[in-house]
């Protein structure tokens, strides 16, 4: 095995990949949340569709999208590999384990939260991204995503699934944001406070912003 693949498959290398792809996916969330928040202009989707069209057709963005899919795949596959090797490291469990005394439940549940997010991701992309891209591939035309949002979020079950997806995202980010910096070795007394503050703020603001989208459409605030 070359030194490069040896590094990336080591315990620390796997965490390096998780941290880098995690921060990359966080940067994607910033763009995704910002553009989707254009629906709150409540202008019949005009601003949203303008930017949606840019994201769906700009060649640079479309090239970066390949990187985004790769980022998701690496984060998911690497996460599953870590889950397996971590589980194998303790074949016999404790009969009595008071883990709450030394760590938070969500930091110990990143695999579970990630799996919930993966299920949500499959549902979410099958609502919007997959139909839109397949239509673009087949006909060259984009679908009216704004109209699709208005229709999809009339179903209360779908709205509930999206809100639960945002709740999972909140807990996943609350640990993941800070944890990524630690995995990269970025632990310094001058910056730890700022990382913790930005991480917590980001974990609260972004999922709330996302959750407000299906809720606002369902309640008719955004038409």
């Amino acid at each position: 095995m070359s030194w490069f693949s040896q590094t990336l498959t080591s315990s620390i290398g796997k965490k390096l990949l998780m941290a880098l792809t995690g921060l990359f996916l966080i940067s994607f969330l910033v763009i995704h949340a910002t553009i989707n928040a254009m629906i709150f202009y409540n202008d019949g989707g005009e601003t949203f569709s303008h930017w949606g069209h840019f994201m769906g057709t700009n060649p640079i963005i479309r090239t970066l999208e390949i990187g985004l899919v790769a980022g998701f795949l690496i984060h998911i596959i690497d996460g599953l590999m870590l889950w397996k090797s971590n589980r194998d490291a303790r074949p016999v469990k404790y009969a009595v384990n008071n883990a709450a005394a030394n760590s938070t439940w969500y930091s110990r549940s990143m695999g579970l939260l990630g799996t919930l997010l993966l299920i949500f991701l499959v549902i979410h992309t099958s609502h919007f991204w997959i139909p839109n891209r397949s239509n673009q591939f087949a006909t060259g035309e984009e679908l009216n995503l704004y109209q699709m949002m208005l229709e999809t979020f009339q179903n209360p079950v779908v709205v509930l699934i999206y809100v639960l997806g945002c709740v999972s995202l909140f807990w996943h980010l609350l640990h993941g944001f800070k944890s990524a910096f630690q995995s990269l070795g970025l632990n310094h007394v001058k910056y730890n406070g700022a990382i913790a503050f930005v991480g917590t703020a980001f974990s609260i603001i972004v999922p709330i912003l996302f959750a407000l989208m299906p809720i606002s459409i369902y309640l008719g605030w955004v038409k």
């Binding site: 080591s10 965490k15 090797s85 490291a89 469990k93 030394n102 632990n187």
Partner: protein, 254 residues
């Protein structure tokens, strides 16, 4: 005696590595609150010997918190309910009269049970053998100030060197990860001038050995540091990540 406690114990018994183990229930009627947890086990073993039964095997040596031998998982936590102490520094006054106490060995693939509460921690020794040393002929001790070392570096190296290698970090971690131990051992040498010559190769070899032993990876839950009797800081794990990643991408070892 007045003030003494009655306790119920559930203790893991396992005759050897390959045998199936299980919990045995014991009752102790006269436990002094001033006994250490290990002395309470001495009382239990006296009782078992008098009854003609096999005493409980458990690791212990110095009984003053510096050897790192004691290794009991008590009521779901390594070294019991207190922070910053080993099992021998835990006293029965931390429990209440009538309590039931569950005692298990460390649970990790890399720490097989030898007998009852005794686990094999040779994996730690093999990690140290892989690079946790300085291979220079140091000669006689030099004058104290001939090698200038920053106060902060000396303090951090000393704090990392306080690790006694008990394995509570592995026991507490949901992944049975040895990162806190290995990072303390890498840090204490990486921070000092004597450790510089082998700094890169040390990080590469010790992490490779840690992985080969079957320890898990780090989820940064912080359980290890919270349960460490020497309160080794998580900063050491960040430093090890820097040392390892830096070494892997820049050392001449291909």
């Amino acid at each position: 005696m007045e003030g003494n406690m009655r306790l119920s114990l559930k203790v893991w018994r396992q005759s050897n590595t390959d045998a199936a183990g299980g919990f045995e229930d014991y009752k102790l009627d006269n436990v002094s609150p001033d006994m250490s947890f290990l002395e309470m086990f001495d009382v239990l073993n006296e009782q078992l010997i008098e009854e003609g039964k096999e005493p409980v095997a458990f690791d212990h040596d110095c009984r003053e918190g510096i050897c790192g031998m004691c290794s009991m998982y008590i009521n779901g936590r390594p070294h019991g309910p207190l922070r910053g102490v080993t099992t021998c520094q835990l006293h029965m006054r931390s429990f209440k009269d009538g309590d039931t106490i569950v005692v298990e060995p460390w649970r990790a693939q890399a720490f097989p049970v030898i007998k009852d509460l005794v686990v094999d921690r040779d994996a730690f020794d093999r990690v140290i053998s892989a690079g946790g040393f300085v291979s220079v002929n140091t000669g006689n001790a030099q004058d104290a100030n001939s090698l200038p070392i920053a106060k902060e570096a000396a303090d951090d190296a000393f704090a990392a060197a306080a690790c006694i290698g008990c394995g509570a970090c592995v026991a507490a971690c949901k992944n049975a990860s040895a990162m806190l131990f290995v990072s303390a051992k890498i840090s204490q040498l990486a921070l000092l001038p004597q450790g510089q010559a082998e700094r890169s190769i040390r990080a590469e070899k010790m992490v490779a050995q840690m992985d080969a032993e079957g320890f898990g990876a780090c989820t940064n839950t912080g359980a290890c540091s919270a349960e460490c009797p020497k309160e080794i800081s998580l900063e050491n794990i960040a430093r090890m990540n820097r040392e390892y990643i830096g070494a892997k991408f820049s050392s001449s070892a291909v």
